[in-house]
Amino acid sequence: MIKSVFFGQVLRLVRRELRSGLKGFGVFLACLFLGVFAISALGSFTASAKSGLLADAGALLGGDLELRLAHRELQAEQRRFLDARGSLSHVMTMRTMAADMAGDNRMLIELKAVDQAYPLYGELGILPAMELKQALAAEEDFGALVERGFLERLGVKVGDRVRVGEATFRVRGVLTAEPDRSVRAFTLGPRFLISQAGLAATELVKPGSLVNHRYRLKLPDREQVDNLRQELQIAFPEAGWRLRTWREAAPRVRFFLDRMNQNLTLIGLCALLVGGLGVAGAVRGYLAGKTFHIATMKCLGASGPLIFTAYLLQVLLLGLLGAAGGLVCGAAVPFLLAWLLGDRLPVPLAPSIHLEVLLVAALFGLLIALAFSLNALGIARRVPPGVLFRGYSPTGRTGPGKGIQAAIGLVVLALGLLAVLTSTDKQLALWFIAGAALCFALFRFAAAGVIRLSRALPSPPLPSLRLGLGNIHRRGSPAGSALFSLGLGLTALVVVVLVQANLDDLVTETVPQKAPAFFFLDIQGHQVADFAETAQSLPGVSKVERYPTLRGRITAIDGISVDEADIDPEVQWAVRGDRYLSYAGEMPPETMITSGNWWPTDYAGPPRISLTADVAKGFGIGVDDTLTVNVLGREITGTIASLREVDWSTLDLNFAIIFAPGTLEQAPQTHIASIHVPPAQEEEVYRVMTGKFPNVSAIGTREVLQNVSRTLERIGAAFRGMAAVALLTGFLVLAGAVSADQHRRIQDAVIFKICGATRWNILTAFAAEFLLLGIIAGLISALVGSLAAMGILKGLMDTSFRLHPGAILATLLVGIVLTLGLGLLGTWKALGHKPAELLRRE
């Protein structure tokens, strides 16, 4: 009964309060909207992309089940087994060179040879429209379909003839879509699609050639795929193939999407945290304006809990409103992207509403709203009715009370838990929480320090500067909020800018100076001597490195199957598929052995392996442990003889696994070589080498790096976008803080005028205050952001860190311009007020 009366009173009060509208809650709503929007938009996009991938899984994989083999085809018995279970399609892929008929232009292509059954799922996009069979048919030449980039770069058109290996192909059309390649991953050259008969005519497939065989099976019932997988593993345990079902289609893309989502969500969360300051400022300002109102209600018998509950309910309702706006817009993003970009998106998108994503975003929003408003609500609860009898309201020295402080702690804990539980990388989430907590503590400490320092500093001789400095430490000054909000927003921006600038450095500056200009793949054994001689004879060539190479897959680590072994995610790549292996008698130059010893050059004993130290650490093995590698279907177990430290960033030719002589020499193999040559001579080297060795694939480092750079740029744009949301939120919070302070500023300006201040005096006083705040916020952000970026780059990404003064200076400028601009905008309004207007109202 008492409870229902209480809640009746609360609801009545809430209804009356909300009757006056949402005035003063603009920043509150905008901050929650932006943060929740960022998180829900990201989550919805990722979930829709993953749904799209799953919906297209059959087409993406090319079948319900895929078996991948390097270098070799299925054995007859294996083929019969699969043929009996569904429709089978065989696709072969390799990288090789194509040339125009004059032999003037050559380029690396991603060659794909398909059989009659291809594609099992989906349809190819061909321009002009024609049947695949017709496009690839052999007439006087074999037919080929190519990506548009091929035509542009080789200077040919549809209908022209081109050479690949020993065969001639007529380009019959342009390939606009491949169902099993709808995820546009990183490629080294444009697609060149031919028939398997066409591939045979090229004579490129030789023992040891780097050819991938993919066998796709379409089942009568795709749900039976897991049973078939088990059957295959039992029937052919030593097959050495890699199996994937439609459920695992595009695992790298999904991994990448999850990773991007995780990282971007953390920046989104950062925006929401900054927005929390706006929430706090708005609630504080709103309740400060209600001080006399609350005091009056208390005088009339309202209890503290009644006041607290009524205003808490209002905050929650408004929080829901802001979050709902963010959720609606966030949920609409995948639909909007699919509508606007459609096929141009790098992943297939199946837009739908993902309730769990929206629930998480809403929870984040509400918890932030609660965490940042409870303090002000607690203080409001304790407003003494006595303020009615004084001319001025208290300036918020009283605390919220222990109960509320405990509640704030619980809400913050819930926020942290939610961040960790919804994160795919718990460790990263924990780091983020620690970083965010540190940032908050740092900025709070810095804000308090700056305020204290401004109080302790001797008075500057200039009255404006003196007043400006005084305004920073004055009671109710927005200095704390301004430093906090702008500082956190700018810090997020500095981190993102510095991380990206350093990654760009890694690709564009550091590497090319040391890296080889070209890598040559698929050099046949009989070409090795001629290749080396030709390369050495070319002007400018400073270094030619060459290694025999085979492909093999790690199957067991110290006797434990890789499926069961405990492998660090950092080196998971090493067991994900086939890896290039090599063997050498002599230790490669600049090799640093960290453990064990290199074998004698004429070693001829049982298999021994030299492994890179990082892989060994990730596998949890060392010298004298074993590694089992499947090479062309044969399991080879070698003992680890030494561990090496390899600096992969130099792009020098190197291998994670190098065998001792005596094990791999007899296996079919090709050679891989790298050539170091200055940029001016690159073209000549490319022309001569690809002309003389048409079967050898040449990969230009510069082009690859440009590709990587473009990919990084696109990823960077997404990160910068999120950082911009964080900064925009910071800007909003700052605007809110300045605007909340507007009334006080106008009153101050009037009194200043009464005391004889000119407009210039007032303008310079306020400008000095905001200039100081901007500089301080910029400086702290530059410092904290640089430290955080260094932590991320050196700690998490294990790469080098370089300070970019330009980026930092730009941040400083943004900070100063934003604060000064916003502050002066507010001051301008204050200056425009005629004192008489205000005095007359008194």
């Binding site: 300036t395 009255p463 005084g470 009464i754 004889g756 008489a836 005095l839």
Partner: protein
């Protein structure tokens, strides 16, 4: 004959509001000699406060002339008026108009700081000591009683040693006893500094303490020149 501190000729002031033009001052002529104290009384809405604001340059007349300390205020711009105020005028309000986020000392130092005085804080401290608030220098207005706040306002008004003090119902928010103490202080400072005083009040006894009493009615002076006892 010495030049009067205040000389007002045919002063008109009209304001345009939602309900149309309101004529607040309708042809005021007034002279106040240097060192003289005058009180202005009259019902609410008579235009007393507006006259005070016109004298301080905070309100621009629609017609007529206002000379204070030999300067024609109607010829001065906003910033020139601000400089004029900091040199010649002190103002005390009914609702004190202290900056709530500044301490008593900072409030009193304000006019001196705007005037570029290096010794602003020392002078402000001395002014507050004269008003008996030596122990309240670091207190914020919200921590002071009404009487104390008005004493801070008095210190701020007198700290520049203005030649003209304008007081707008300075005891309106205070009880009788506190009001009396504040007024004793005001007259004491006025006498010591030889300041000309224009006092707007509803309190007849307070008005009687001035040399001259002027009654205002509907924007006009009702009985100019009436001598106070």
């Amino acid at each position: 004959m010495t030049e009067p501190m205040v000389e007002i000729n045919d002063l008109h002031l009209s304001l345009v509001g939602g309900a149309g033009t309101v004529n607040i001052l309708r042809g005021i002529d007034l002279q106040v000699a240097r060192g003289e104290t005058i009180s202005i009384v009259g019902p609410s809405g008579a235009g007393k406060t507006t006259l005070l604001m016109a004298l301080s340059g905070l309100e621009s007349p629609s017609a007529g002339q206002v000379h204070v300390a030999g300067r024609d205020l109607t010829a001065l711009g906003e910033d020139q008026l601000a400089r004029f105020r900091r040199q010649h005028v002190g103002i005390v309000f009914q609702s004190f108009h202290l900056v709530p986020t500044m301490t008593a000392l900072e409030n009193v130092a304000l006019p001196l700081e705007f005037a570029g005085r290096r010794d602003a804080r020392e002078a402000a401290r001395a002014a507050l000591e004269k008003t008996g608030l030596a122990a309240r220098l670091a207190h914020f207005p919200g921590e002071l009683s009404g009487g104390e706040q008005q004493r801070v306002a008095l210190a701020r008004a007198f700290v520049n040693q203005p030649s003209l003090l304008l007081a707008d119902e300075p005891t309106g928010n205070l009880d009788r006893e506190t009001g009396d103490k504040v007024m004793d202080l005001l007259f004491d400072l006025q006498q010591k500094q030889g300041t000309t005083l224009v006092l707007v009040t509803h309190d007849a006894s307070l008005a009687d303490r001035c040399h001259r009493l002027i009654r205002m009615m509907d924007g006009r002076l009702a009985a100019p020149g009436e001598q106070a006892t």
